[in-house]
């Protein structure tokens, strides 16, 4: 059943690639505008062999993880603190929601002014993009932690820190993971946009360079690289979620 779905699902991809190959390689539509799969593969091999792809991807990956990991940690801590301390939440909630709703892309120019054209400004962009969804999902998750879980832990004499680590954190983990998945999507978009706006190196900079030279096949290569990365991150998080939270589906029934 699963394998059958895989076959049917990949059929559409195969047909699409075949059509694209035919239309592009026969110049039915100008191939310098749409390229075609075999040319994309060749371009990718070339970009990889010159080290252009690797060195720029390395810079972007670094910016991503150096921004993303702290965003997750601070997002979880801030989310739990806001959920548990009512006054803090009342004070900061409107401000945080407002920042969350604002398109971060609009902040890119000012972040570049503050943090420079290099990697620092991109790291800050990733951090801001991922921090808010993680924080807000953590808040929601903590609110959904069932009272019996904390009651059980408290009844054995747990202190506040233990209530957080034994009941609140594991109980809100599914929501936190959902926040991380949202954060990956937002952070990738903002990182690429930031690099396209101004940067020294990075995948987004390559996109900008090749698009100003109207090089379709290079741009397609970069799009494939970016979406593969996002897909890999989200798949990893889903896998992790299934490993740690098989109890979740049961509760939702």
């Amino acid at each position: 059943m699963a394998s059958r779905r895989l076959v049917v699902g990949s059929l559409s991809v195969v047909v699409f690639l075949a059509l694209w190959q035919i239309v592009g390689s026969t110049n039915l539509i100008r191939s310098d505008l749409i390229s075609y799969p075999s040319e994309v593969v060749a371009t990718m091999a070339k970009m990889a062999s010159t080290g252009e792809l690797g060195s720029n991807a390395w810079v972007s990956l670094n910016e991503f993880f150096v921004g993303f990991v702290p965003a997750v940690i601070f997002g979880i801590v801030a989310g739990i603190a806001l959920a548990l301390v009512r006054r803090l939440r009342l004070l900061l909630d409107p401000l945080l929601i407002a920042i969350y709703q604002a398109p971060i892309i609009a902040f890119i120019p000012i972040l570049v002014v503050w943090f420079g054209v290099g990697t620092t400004s991109k790291i800050v962009m990733v951090f801001i993009s991922a921090f808010f969804p993680v924080m807000i999902n953590t808040m929601t998750g903590v609110a959904q932690v069932a009272e019996p879980w904390t009651r059980a832990v408290r009844s054995f004499g747990a202190n506040t820190l233990q209530v957080v680590s034994k009941a609140i954190l594991p109980g809100s983990l599914p929501a936190i993971m959902a926040g991380m998945r949202l954060g990956v999507g937002r952070a990738v978009v903002v990182l690429i946009a930031g690099e396209m706006y101004v940067s020294v190196m990075g995948i987004g900079r390559l996109v900008q360079v090749y698009s100003s030279a109207a090089r379709a096949s290079e741009i397609v290569v970069l799009v494939v690289v970016i979406s593969t990365f996002g897909f890999a991150c989200v798949s990893f998080l889903r896998w992790l979620e299934n490993r740690i939270g098989p109890w979740r589906q049961e509760l939702e029934q």
């Binding site: 879980w149 059980a152 009844s155 054995f156 747990a158 233990q162 034994k166 939270g245 109890w247």
Partner: protein
């Protein structure tokens, strides 16, 4: 001085919406001896669960005090372990890991608590389910996990808050048999809350009967049925007499909570 002393305890709180003062418990005094199994019956809303929460120190009395072995209880601790009506298991933990929870918080080393957890899981008959998650178990099995978790911290007192209230009648009767079997081994002090009169008499050395709100103790009945008891004891005339006596005390209380007049018979 008893093992567990509840001294003149009252509990008042403000209702969240109307903000009126509500008296849940009024001047409750109760002494439980070491190794005694005391059950508390009363109409719903009589504050019997609150009494247990006070002993666990998950709530604090408005006046009066609670002492365990002479020391006033001020905060929750593993000298008192609770078993809850809703089981209160952690759904992301396996049976084994759920049972280890109390010992983790008590600071027992991982190797020791693993061994102890396995011992108590075997005691409640769940040896083959150590790796299962709570949602894979029936209600009766879940509560056996709850009981193993409570026993594993080796508390001085076991506090059971309508532990079998969520189970159906047959399972419920068998769980009471199981509880007595476990209790006969080491005769831990137990305070057991229920609204089921048969369950209360079947288990108890003494049955405490409480009034409708505010909760007060209206009667204490010593149950002189021989131990060990099996389910057949419920069919004896002596048992029927206790049942009748307690129902006589409770009927009026229950009617008052329902606002129903007595039926002429």
């Amino acid at each position: 001085m008893s093992h567990l002393d509840v001294e003149d305890v009252s509990l008042a709180y403000r209702r969240p919406l109307s903000n009126e003062q509500f008296l849940a418990l009024e001047n409750v005094s109760l002494g439980v001896e070491r190794g005694e199994l005391v059950t508390v019956v009363g109409p719903s809303g009589c504050g019997k669960s609150s009494l247990l929460m006070l002993i666990a120190a998950l709530l604090h009395p408005t006046s009066g005090s609670i002492r365990l072995s002479g020391r006033e209880v001020k905060a929750p601790g593993s000298d008192r372990a609770m078993v809850f009506q809703d089981f209160a298991l952690l759904p992301w933990r396996t049976v084994l890991s759920n049972v280890e929870l109390g010992m983790e918080l008590k600071g027992v080393t991982p190797a020791e608590r693993r061994a102890a957890a396995q011992r108590y899981i075997a005691m409640v008959g769940l040896r083959d389910f150590e790796r299962h998650f709570p949602h894979q178990l029936s209600g009766g099995m879940r509560q056996r996990v709850g009981i193993a978790r409570a026993l594993s911290v080796e508390p001085e007192v076991l506090l059971m808050d309508e532990p079998f209230g969520a189970l159906d009648a047959q399972i419920r009767a068998l769980m009471a048999v199981e509880l007595l079997r476990i209790w006969e081994r080491d005769r831990k002090t137990i305070v057991f809350i229920t609204h089921d009169i048969d369950e209360a008499v079947y288990l108890a050395d003494r049955v405490i009967v409480m009034s409708a709100s505010p909760g007060r103790i209206i009667e204490t009945i010593r149950v002189d049925l021989p131990r060990p008891r099996d389910l057949d004891v419920r069919n004896t005339p002596e048992f029927a007499a206790y049942r009748h006596q307690i129902w006589g005390l409770l009927e009026e209380q229950v009617r008052s909570t329902l606002n129903w007049p007595a039926v002429a018979s």
